[in-house]
């Protein structure tokens, strides 16, 4: 299986079926808006020279997710790369790079769903990048002029990007009613607090190496151009809101669903949607059990007919090939 090595970071890639369409649509819209902004900023800041750079770095992050090291018995730390890309290239190009990575994983390797892609992009390409940028800036300015500043700020930024992104992922799942918040939030948080350490160590190691080999890349204009105040404030806000919201959500028995119901938001949306068709029972098939059986029989017949048709067709084409060739 050639694609097996790519399937390393399962936990944060939500497949289809786990998010309600409403939640998916909301996060698609948010992601598209941020993406448009990122494309505009990148176009403004970078020359066409950077297009191949971003493409190749996206491939490097994707392939770099295979890099791992054993921790204890079977578990391993590995790289997701949002923080590393942010620190090297600046936030907006990093958003584009991570979006490419997540999209290819969904489209080509079924690592994460297509409908859920908006939410996955939001978690990994946006929260991951913005939180890294905010934390990296804070820690760097706190530890001015220390030689190990890259190491510490890189580690903290990478850990926080994983941790906060996993909180967002957990909240999306519980908002969809797929997983109760009091289970999924602590579980995701605990797992990713550990995974984040691996991410942090690798990111810090990479930064130390780059610092030694190509110091110019860390001091280049690329990540310093433009005013990132908005991102820094946004990233900190996201981190704070998610960090506060998660314990609240998980301490309440029904978590976010309850919040959504209280505010009447989810209920209204769903009612309006299903009221397009009023109460109505199908003539003949209002017994669900009967309907299931009928559907099953029709299904089997359709599949059989198609299989038969394909087989016949194949026979014909083979015969034609023989007679012609």
């Amino acid at each position: 299986m050639s694609h097996l090595p790519f399937l390393s970071s399962k936990l944060m890639h939500i497949p289809d079926g786990f998010l309600s369409v409403l939640v998916s649509a909301i996060f698609w819209m948010i992601s598209i808006m941020v993406l448009i902004k990122a494309l505009r900023e990148t176009n403004r800041l970078l020359s066409e020279r950077q297009v191949p750079l971003m493409g190749v770095l996206a491939a490097a992050i994707f392939a770099g997710q295979m890099l791992n090291f054993t921790v204890i018995g079977g578990t391993s730390g590995h790289l997701l790369g949002a923080a590393l890309a942010t620190i090297l290239l600046g936030p907006w190009p990093a958003v584009l790079i991570m979006t490419s990575v997540v999209s290819i994983q969904a489209l080509l390797f079924q690592d994460g769903g297509i409908l859920a892609l908006g939410a996955n992009i939001f978690n990994m390409a946006m929260i991951g990048v913005f939180v890294s940028q905010a934390i990296y800036t804070y820690v760097t300015s706190l530890l001015k002029k220390k030689s190990w500043v890259f190491f510490v700020s890189g580690f903290v930024a990478a850990w926080a990007s994983i941790f906060i992104a996993s909180l967002s992922c957990a909240l999306q799942l519980s908002l969809s009613g797929t997983s109760p918040a009091n289970v999924v939030v602590p579980a995701m948080a605990a797992i990713h607090a550990l995974i984040g350490i691996g991410e942090g160590l690798i990111t810090a190691g990479a930064l130390v190496f780059i610092f030694a080999a190509r110091k110019d890349l860390l001091h280049n204009d690329l990540s310093k151009t433009g005013d990132h105040k908005g991102i820094i404030i946004g990233g900190s806000l996201i981190a704070i809101v998610l960090a506060v919201l998660s314990p609240i959500a998980s301490s309440h028995p029904d978590g976010l669903e309850w919040v959504a119901e209280q505010s009447g938001f989810l209920g209204i949306a769903q009612d309006a949607f299903y009221e397009i068709i009023p109460d109505y029972t199908m003539p003949g098939i209002n017994d669900p059990a009967l309907a299931t059986i009928v559907a099953g029989i029709i299904g089997v017949v359709i599949v059989f007919v198609v299989a038969y048709g394909v087989a016949r067709n194949e026979k014909h084409s083979k015969r034609n090939q023989i007679s012609h060739g």
Binding site: L35, A59, L115, V208, Y274, A295
Partner: protein, 251 residues
């Protein structure tokens, strides 16, 4: 078939499948029948379909707590004389619904990628008004993914031959700290190599007349013909019918 048709159809299929309420078992059967019929017509190998589906299954763990925590009525099952667990029927039905939707959606996505070449998919995305810069980056990433994967595999092989992958420190050459640092250095050098590689790629692109416009598409001239358009319309019509049917039968 035109890749845009396939992409749109897959999106519509997955959206309506996920809009179908929980417990609409007959509708699920119809959705899966429809998909299986397409799989049969496309003649992709069933073993590939199910192998790839299995690879993504562990995520189902996220929905398992539903079985125990949804609304009453609860049913108690005694595992041991003194140990009882409570199951919620509604939760169980929700869980099975999620698992079925996941199962069918991922197979629809596999059908799309197994029958469409990636450049065609990029072309379809361009047609659906995905920004050119985004498509260009995704396209480049896909092209160099396999080259860079080989670089990473070489690095990992080199590290393994120097035995830093074992977990006990007496065999691995160093502590956990050391192993993490080695991996970090690998990631760093991978980045540097990629950056240098991209400079060469840029030079090569320039020499072939690249002027900042993203790479030309592969099958720009092909447009959707009448038959494909009708087929797409009919397919979406069927999906909507199944979905409406699902609204009545669902819980």
């Amino acid at each position: 078939m035109h890749p845009g048709v396939k992409l749109v159809f897959t999106l519509v299929f997955i959206i309506f499948l996920n809009l179908t309420p929980a417990q609409a078992w007959p509708a699920y059967i119809f959705f899966y029948t429809f998909l299986l019929a397409l799989v049969l017509v496309s003649r992709i190998q069933l073993s590939i379909l199910f192998q790839r589906t299995l690879l993504a299954t562990p995520f189902i763990l996220a929905a398992i707590p539903l079985i125990f925590s949804a609304n009453p009525p609860y049913y108690s099952i005694s595992l041991l004389p003194d140990v009882e667990i409570y199951l919620s029927l509604e939760g169980l039905q929700k869980f099975v619904s999620i698992a079925i939707k996941f199962f069918i959606s991922i197979q629809a996505a596999i059908l799309l990628t197994a029958t469409t070449r990636f450049p065609d998919l990029l072309f379809a995305m361009e047609r659906l008004k995905v920004p050119k810069l985004m498509v260009a980056i995704i396209g480049l990433a896909w092209r160099f993914l396999f080259v860079i994967r080989d670089v990473v595999l070489r690095m990992i092989r080199a590290r393994t031959s120097r035995s830093s992958s074992l977990s006990s420190s007496s065999h691995s050459g160093g502590s956990l700290w050391w192993r993490a640092r080695v991996t970090g250095v690998m990631a760093g050098s991978l980045f540097l190599r990629s950056i240098e590689c991209s400079d060469r790629i840029y030079a090569a692109m320039l020499s072939r007349g690249y002027v900042g416009v993203p790479l030309p598409s592969f099958s720009k001239t092909i447009s959707i013909n009448r038959n494909e358009f009708l087929g797409l319309g009919f397919g979406i019509f069927l999906i909507v019918m199944i979905w409406i049917f699902g609204l009545f039968t669902g819980g």
